[in-house]
Structures are given as C-alpha cells and as structure tokens.
Amino acid sequence: MTLSTAAVGRSIPRLEARAKVTGRAEYVHNMSVPGMLIAKVARSNVAHGRIRNIDVAAARALPGVFAVYTGEDIRKLIAEPYYGPAFHDQPILAIDKVRYAGEPVAVVLAADAHVAENAARLIEAQYEALPAVYDEVEAMTSKAVVHEVLKPAGTFADLKHLKDKRDTNVALDFHLRRGDLGRAFAAADHVFEHTFRTQQVLHLPLEPFATVAIVNGAGDDSLTLHSSTQSPSFVRTEIARLFGWTDNKVRVKVPYLGGGFGAKVYVKSEALAAACAMLAKRPVKFATTMEEQFYMITKHATTLRIKSGVMQDGKITARECEVWWNGGAYADIGPRVTQKSGFTAPGPYDIDNVHIDSYALYTNLPAAGALRGFGIPQLVWAYESHTDMIARELKIDPLTIRRKNILREGWPQATGTLMRDAALEKVLERLAQRMQWEKPFQRGSGTIKRGRGMAIGFKASISPTTSMAIVNLSADGSCALYSSTVDMGQGSDTIMAQMVSEVMGIPIEKITVVHPDTDVTPYDMATLGSRSTFHMGHAVKNAAEDARDKLLTLASEVGLSAETTPIPDIFKKKYGMLAGNIVGVGSFVPSYQSPDARGQTENATPFWMIGATGAEVEVDTETGEFKVTRLVNLVDVGKSINPAIVETQISGATVMQLGFTLQEQMNFSDGHVTNASLADYKIPGMRDIPPMENEAVDAEQKSGPFGAKGVGESGTFGVSPAVANAIDDAVGVRLTSLPLTAEAVYRGLREKAGKPLKDS
C-alpha cells in the first residue's frame, strides 16, 4: 500500500469517457434481447372520464400482434395494480377511469415495433366525460375530484392522516408556524404582498424512458429488469410488492442513463414492462418516444402568494407564504416536494415570524414530480422576485436588502434548524464582486436599455435516506466498487472512484465501478436531490476505510508492513499465491428529526445547498425583446471532489433552468398537451447560451465526505428571478409569471406608457 495519490480534488476525465465518445456506452433505450416483444401504449384522449368500453378487437386482429392487454388483464395478474412512492395511486393501465389526457389505457405487444404502434392506433375507447380540474388553486375547492379516495403508501408518517380521506384533491398540506405573525404584521412599517406563477415544464432527457423486462426461466416467478432508472433499489422493492414477492425475485440492472434530471426516479416504465412480460412470458421492452415523455412526468406548475412585513430600513420581520403545487393526476413524489422544499419558502433570510402553508394538489394533468431542484426553483422565483419588489418600493439597493436579511452561520432557519456550513454570505458577496455590483453600471442608450439582477436560493437535502457500498480489493491490488448510485451524466462513477483511490492509495485506473444491479450492488435510496456525493460518498469512504483497515490487519497478521509492502505481496504471503480478496463494507444514514405540528425541528437536513445567479440583460423598449448578455453563477458545494465535473454541473443546471425561464412551457387545451414534441417545445440549443461564468466558492461541508456535498441542482436556484429582476432594472417592467417572454415585456412597457394592449 502506497501513500495517497491525492485523487480527490483533481479534475480527472470521466471513467467512461472513451465509451461515450466512441458510441459504445450502453443505454437501455438501445438495448435488445433475443425473443423480445415491443410494447406500445394506447393513451386516453380525455382528461377525466369513466371508461365505458375499450375495443381492442381490431388491434388484436392485426397480423403480427402477439397480445393486447387492458387494465382488466393486468388485474388478473396483480389484484391491486397501483404504484407510487408516496401514494399507491397510479394504475399500470387505467382502471375504471382515466385522470389525464395521455394516460395509458391499453398496451399492444408485437415483435415488430411498427406493428405494435399501428395496432395501438386501432384501439378505440369510449369514456363518459367527467368534469375536470386543471388549475392548482381551483383544485383546492373544485367539485371535480381526481381521486375518490386517497391511498397513502404508508412510508411517510406525515401522510398517515390522509388515509381513506374522500372528496379532496389535497394530497398533502404542510404547515409551518414560527413566532407571532399577526403582531409582526401590525408592527411592520410596510406590508407587501405579491402572487407569482410558474408553468408546467418537463425533463426531456434525450434518452427517453425504457425498460426491458425478462422472465427468468420457464414457470419461474422472477424477473430481471434492465431499466433507465435513477432508483434501482426502489424499483426492485416496488415491483416485488406489486407481485406479492420478496425482493430477491426482482433484479434491476442499470447501465448508463442518457440523462435523468429527476424524471427517472421511482417507478416509470418498469411496472408496465414487468406486467407485460409476466402475462406474455416473453421478454418485453417498453421504451417511450420523445412525445410520450410529455405524458410521463413533469415539473409542478405553481402558484405562490407571499406577503412580508418590512421595516423602513429594509429589515424583514414577518413573512407569510402560501404555495399550491399542481401535482397532476398522480402524486408521484409531489407530497415530498410540498414539505421538504416547502419549508424553505421564506427564503434564506432571517425572519422571526413566519407562516407557511404548502399544498400538493391533484389535477387532471400529466403527473408532476421532482425536476432538478425538487421544487426549489419555483420557490426562489417567488421569494427573490419579491425581494427586489420590496427593495424597489423602499428605494433600497437589491444587494443591501439581501445583506441586511441574509441568514448567517449558526442562525435558525424557519424550521428552527441552525444554518451550518451554509456559505450564504460568501456566495452573495462573491456574486456581488464578480458582478462589480457596487461600481457604476452602463444602462444603455436609445431604445436599448441595460439592467442587472441577482437572486440567491437554498435547499435542504431529502432526509433521512440510506446508502450502502462495498469495496472489493483483489489480490493484485486492483479493486471494484459496488454501489447502486446511477451515473446519468453527473459523473458519480468517477467521483466515487476518486474517493476510493484517495482512501486506499490505489490509482484510479485500477478501480472498477460496478453499475447498479440489485442482485450484486447493495441498497441505495436513489440517485436524486443531489444526495449521492454526500450520502453515497460517505458509504463509499466508509467501505474503502473498512477495506484499508482489513488490509492493515492482514499485513500485520502475516508480519508485513502495509505502509511499505505492495498489496500483492501481502496477499501472496497470506495465501501462498495471488489469491483471495478483501471486502470492505460501508453504510451511511444521517441523523434527522421530523418536524413537529408547527413545522419545527432542530435537524431538518444533513446539509444545505446554496446557489445564486447574477444576470445582465439588454431590453429593446420598442419591441420588448430582450437578451441575457451575462450570467454569473455561484454555488456552495463544499469542497469539490472533481472541479471540472462540478463546473459542468453548475453550467448544465443553469442552462436547463434558463430554458424554463425563457422558452419552455407545456401548452394545454382542455387538458391535452398541444406541443408534445421537440419541434414545438424548444429546449436550449447551442445558440441559446449566454456568456456564463461559474464558480464554486471556497467552502467546506465539515460533515461531508472530504468536505463535499451535492452539486447537481444548485445552479438552477437563482436563474429565473435574476433575469426577471434584471428586466425590471432595465425598463421598470415586473413579470410575475414564467416563462419570461418578449410579449410579456412589451405588454408591460405599453401599460407603463398608459397605452395597454387591448387583447390581453
């Protein structure tokens, strides 16, 4: 064993780099196995309706069709075919009624994908239309009820009170109470109240969802699933639960993912593929198209009302937040978003008196889940726009008002949890420096006006969650890391190998990362919410330390010094030849305390993520068109394990959120998505990228592995409000709904000039 190779902190290229540039990296969407049938789905064409009849005769009669199944066929296999992480509310295929336009009602299996697709189009279903609800605020009181009875999964204590509740669309109501709000509002010099909205958007990884399900052996009730999932351990348990099996009957294997961003967590394409394979007793592949992604999972549209009591000097003394999350037809992980992100709704500010009411709502739209930020970008959009609106009214500089109110190290956040290793101030100050905020700013001339804006947000980690890892050292001194963390592009394989290398002093080339395979790699809660670096990082570090300690013991047992003896010689001395191995195991679960009835807890999160963005814009006062001319992104990720990968995570997150800020929006007509393709739903391309600067501030997460913490989402936090604040700074037009469009700016300009456009 030699001394540390100092692998941590270095920008080494990704382990799989060669496979990716030669087109040889494996993705489930491109996978095929012998004898495989292709599944194609027929989807509902009403947003809410009772199923009268599903006519599959024509589809079944089409030559080449192997089978056609409906919800009733699935029910013969699985008595209660409903799945979901928070609620068991989502049927594998619709049963009795459909709850959104695009819901799967039947599936066709054929060896030829084109045959399956043609047959699926021949399926005719009749519905008795039911009144539908689409708006999240209306859903609170609407007579249209999406689910007659609520069925919480029982995993979460705070959902128990919703069990068997009838005639409500509220899938979770989270409340936080701190201080005396009424008194603080009465004592405040000013009270400001604003309402903000965000639109429904979606992840759109370029590899859509895909699962290949294989029934193992004849008559054997067990399944192997190759799946594009971010949560192999969850999929195993949930599929096993559906079939009434023990976990060992389901094996989930995950190669690389062509992007995930939160889309591929929990069960997505897996349940249908598994059920079809079991019914057909043949391998079945269910791979969605790009269009179908619009019906799978999306990001919550939200309405956010925020009201603040403020003193003349800009000190915020009271804040009331109401947030309505449009969860669509199935809860997915929405209730967790409502609570875990909900409690940061007042922003990273020191406010003594706070009320938060956060509601997860069912509506008749495609389901919403977690998308790169777990609800945080929606909240930051509201509170950071609100911050600037207050500052403008009080004629205080936007930086000054933030400095005055920002939470400092060791101060309590709204839950009562103290801020620890949260570099809020540092991030804010570095942002101000890089933007040269306190220097004069060129405001443009003629019809082109320039403006700048800033925004800062923060996020808690989802807790408590568990990670396990195994490090297997071979006699020749190479080793394998077994972990169920999924590398979907964020570079986890590489940084985990760096951690093993650092602990064991083994060069990176001699470390293999074994991809998730639930028969082989141990449990991990999921790859989501920027949790892997911290949670799996700890588990991997523990496993590597365990292996190292066992090696030290072995060396001393055979009378050798582990410090100076090459690893193979230690094994040779013990086993007489190059044989044997050492298995190190590690696990990690952080401590956590559930919030009480007032939303208070001393320990809300194992770490805080911080992200801020500064934006400069140019606005054409004649047309409302605007251009983002500069984005400065600052984050606190603790210590970077791989600085180059960290930087790509910051810029990638920023650009994605810029898409949600400026161009992306799912459009609906009577609950039908009207732009379900890349032709009509434009994601950022090469020409949409403004000049960007990214920086991870010099910081350390003392409780993190090697001082590190999560990074994948932080770049998203500040983008939307920073741009809106910059537009307001340039031309005095305040936009409160996303996306920010030239039309909205133009309407604002006309209104300001006293000549509002009539047709709005």
Binding site: S11, P13, R14, E16, A17, R18, A19, K20, V21, T22, G23, R24, A25, E26, Y27, H29, N30, M31, S32, P63, G64, D112, H114, H203, L204, P205, L206, E207, P208, Y256, L257, G258, G259, G260, F261, T289, M290, M488, G489, Q490, G491, A644, I645, T648, S651, G652, T654, V655, M656, S677, L678, A679, I683, P684, G685, M686, R687, I689, M692
Partner: protein, 162 residues
Amino acid sequence: MNITRTINFTLNGEPVTAQIATHQNLVEVLHERGLTGARESCAQGLCGCCTVLVNGAAVSGCLYLAAFADGAEVRTIEHSENGELDAVQAAFIETGAFQCGYCTPGMVLMTRQLLDAHAEPSEDEIKHYLSGNLCRCAAYPEIIKAVKLAAAKRKIERKGAK
C-alpha cells in the same frame, strides 16, 4: 404484410447486404446490426442523436429511409481508422464535453464535418454548425471548447504529416 427488399451498402468500410422493410429507417437497420451509437431520440430530425454519415455527409438517421442507403457508403461513430481515437474524440475527452453521453456520437460526427469544411472555425461558425445537435445536459460551453481544441489538434497533425 411488410414490403421488404434487399440493399447493399458499405458499412464502416465493410460491404454488407441487408434485408430491410421499406419503412425502416437507417437507425433501425444499424441497431439490428448491433451498432447503437446512432440512436433515436426526437425522431423528427431535430436533435442530432441519430447522426450517421452517408457518402460522407451527415444525415439524421431517424428520417433517412434505409432503402436510400442502397449502394451508399455509410459510416457511424463506431468507425475508426486504426482503432485509435481521432482528434475530435480526444478533444471531447480532454475538455469534458459531455455528461450523459447520449448526444455525443452526433456531436463528434458533426464536429468532424465542421472541421473538414472549416479548419479553424470561429465561435459563430461552431454554433451555426452544431445548432442542429441538442444536448439536454447542456455541455455546450465544453463542446465549443472541444471543437476549438480539436481544430488545434488537427492543425498539429497536418503539420506532422507534411
């Protein structure tokens, strides 16, 4: 019920004969032959994930009927002159110009075509050429760096060859 026909083409330098259905696109036929570097994503000619070179020109394999490849010379990302990475691939690795890697084969092939036409492209030419290739991970800043580095690497190679 499928109408099938036989086509002959050169695939990465090897002559092949394939029995195809007339509605099949080039990506499907390549996948049947185990080549999955060209992959369908948008299926509308909008993302570039399915890029294949037909007679030296980049096409969207998702829209390119396999039947049209009859008699053509087809190259995919899997093709390599000598088993080595070329300047473009090496530059993509050195600059970290990908995350999930799903778009990468298309980006690499398109960059080669760009550099064949413009040995030292400006930033604007890079953006113009690659604007038909989407990357949801948004590795764009690194991709631009990779293209510039690849251009520099090729220049050195040309000098060496002289």
